[in-house]
Amino acid sequence: MLLNLIKRPHWSFGALVIALCLLPGWGLAADMGNCLLCHKYPGLSRIDNDGKMKLMFVNEEIFNKSVHSKVKCEGCHTDITKIPHEPAKPVDCLTVCHIIEPTSEQKFSHKSVKKFIDEAVHSKIDGEGKPKKFNEDMPNCKDCHDNPLFRPLAFVKKVRPGVAEDAMGRCRVCHEKEDFIFRFYNHITTRLHKSRSPLNIAEACGKCHDDKEMVKRHGLTIMAGSSYADTFHGKAANLLSETIPDCLDCHVVKGKSVHQMYGNDDPRSSTHPENRGAICNSVDCHPKASVKFANYQVHPVYDREKSPVVYWFTTFFYVLTGGTLLPLMIILFLDLLRRLFPNATFKRRK
């Protein structure tokens, strides 16, 4: 479509583009196909034959603050070529979209992610390329990712994206396009800290790793999300700390993609017994931590067989607390009962 415009410029269309560019906010929109003509309505929805709700609404304001805001709708929904259209096919995240990757000057794609995933612990296939048992449990892209939103550093102002006007002012010295400045600033500052808060990361992993049946099916020994929540790290994450380690900080080798996550028994894994020492003693966490420190039970579970020390220690405190407070409650209750019925007795009165 765009190629047509470039090849055959049309003066009236050019005038229209100029006019539209003058409208505030237009520069951010990726809606060249005018898809929002319908998809801006939140009620655009239906119930599928299998009873699942399908919502076709796109919140333009939020979409424009996402990392995909520059991608045109047709860039992902490639099967849609006319309006109105047939029910859209599921999006293939590995599709080549219209964005040009600036370093290679090639069209952008997430294809490299598949290469990483196929070798990783969450792959649907094993080392020989055969489907794994219960491979339908393995996550697809959307099981972990929704549309990633820009999270510019928020320390500047807590009530709006952390856009530092001073920094933007410096950008404007050389760069003229406001759209470019806004996007580039967000692109960089979003990546200067975690892409999602530790709590959101733990929740995303917990969708599967806290599913009791799924955990059993795959022979895992712990509910990783809930056991993380019991730790000091998990409690800080629950209080929305941004500096506390989440699942990815320990389970991904520093400098690698989050998609390169391997099983604990894989020598490439950050959590392999021989590599664990490097997790805790990173310069950002506990620089002087020993290997022994890193091998402590990170995911404690209250289970006599899996964690006997944790089990007996916790049981002692359960018994101590319950054994002290419950009798106290019983005595209080009986005392109140006597005050309610001061003359009641089980003995027969003479």
Binding site: K40, N59, P84, K142, N147, R304, Y318, L337
Partner: protein
């Protein structure tokens, strides 16, 4: 009196002590017992059949309907984005519209009632159902009853409210449009209190009604439903649209948009409508028009569809 108050005080205190006792039990010994049972539960290998059975077991009302209404929060640092969780939904929603708690139609048919029409149309019709009361399209007051008066009502309380259109993002209103009719020389909304109460009574007593009573009640409830509902072109037209859009608070710009060539053209050339022609400069008009076969689709009300089949 003092004695009575003392007794009340003691009873309240006993309830409090019991409450604390339950909490302490749940926080202490209940964990020990739970762990014991978990440890002694049968450890079984899972087969494909087990998985199928587990999925089947998950079809209970609680799991399919109640638990499906999960909410998620995204912590963006400067903002917490809270929204409904829809499995497999990629885009963020960002706000809640909430169900129509007043409409007696929605109480049975739900807020997304259109599924008897073609696949392509149901989402469009459901989209309209979010801001237009069912009776606006599915009843055609004629003769003396017709007034041409329409107003907005609050989805939560049912009260008539001011137009929410100004400055709001299209379709994000907490209100819906309802027609007014003439009854006994007075202007009343078509979903009057009496009608609402009639439906509420029917739903309350439905189980105890005989077959005949049930059929009569349904007939009366649906008596305002027209055989042929209002179709898209009746509102999406510049010439005398059914809905008085300007009176309903739509600005001139919005009215122009609703009745624009893009929208009207899309409806008219429903089955073969390609991207707006302005995005195909240089392409001959004839070539585009050849692809645009006029096959308007008329949505039919569920009841009317049923009658037609009979």
């Amino acid at each position: 009196m003092k004695n009575f108050l003392t007794k009340i005080y003691i009873l309240a205190f006993m309830a409090l002590v019991t409450y604390f006792g339950v909490i302490i039990w749940n926080l202490t010994f209940a964990h020990v017992i739970h762990e014991y049972h978990e440890r002694h539960a049968e450890k079984a290998e899972y087969s494909e059949e087990d998985i199928a059975q587990q999925k089947k077991d998950k079809q209970s009302f609680e799991q399919v309907i109640l638990e499906s209404e999960k909410r998620v929060k995204s912590y963006l640092g400067y903002r917490v984005l809270e929204q409904q969780y829809i499995e497999g939904h990629f885009h963020h929603i960002g706000f809640d519209v909430g169900p129509d708690k007043y409409s007696y139609c929605s109480s049975c048919h739900g807020d997304m009632p259109h599924d008897n029409v073609t696949k392509d149309m149901r989402a469009f019709l459901n989209m309209h159902a979010f801001l237009i009361g069912c009776q606006t399209c599915h009843s055609r007051p004629d003769g003396e009853m017709a007034t041409g008066v329409y107003q907005w009502y609050d989805r939560e309380t049912g009260e008539i409210v001011e137009s929410p259109v100004n400055d709001a993002t299209p379709g994000t209103y907490k209100s819906k449009i309802i027609p007014f009719v003439l009854e006994n020389d007075s202007l009343v909304r078509i979903d009057s209190k009496e009608r609402n109460e009639f439906v509420a009574q029917y739903r309350l007593n439905e189980k105890d009604l005989s077959e005949g009573q049930r059929s009569r009640a349904k007939k009366l409830i649906h008596s305002v439903v027209a055989k042929k509902p209002v179709i898209c072109e009746e509102c999406h037209t510049k010439e005398n649209p059914l809905l008085p859009l300007e009176n309903l608070g739509y600005s001139k710009r919005r009215v122009d948009s609703i009745t624009s060539t893009e929208v009207v053209g899309m409806i008219k050339n429903y089955t073969k409508f390609y991207m707006p022609q302005m995005l195909h400069p240089g392409v001959a008009d004839d070539a585009v028009q050849q692809h645009q076969q006029v096959t308007p689709v008329v949505p039919v009300a569920p009841e009317a569809a049923g009658e037609a089949e009979e």
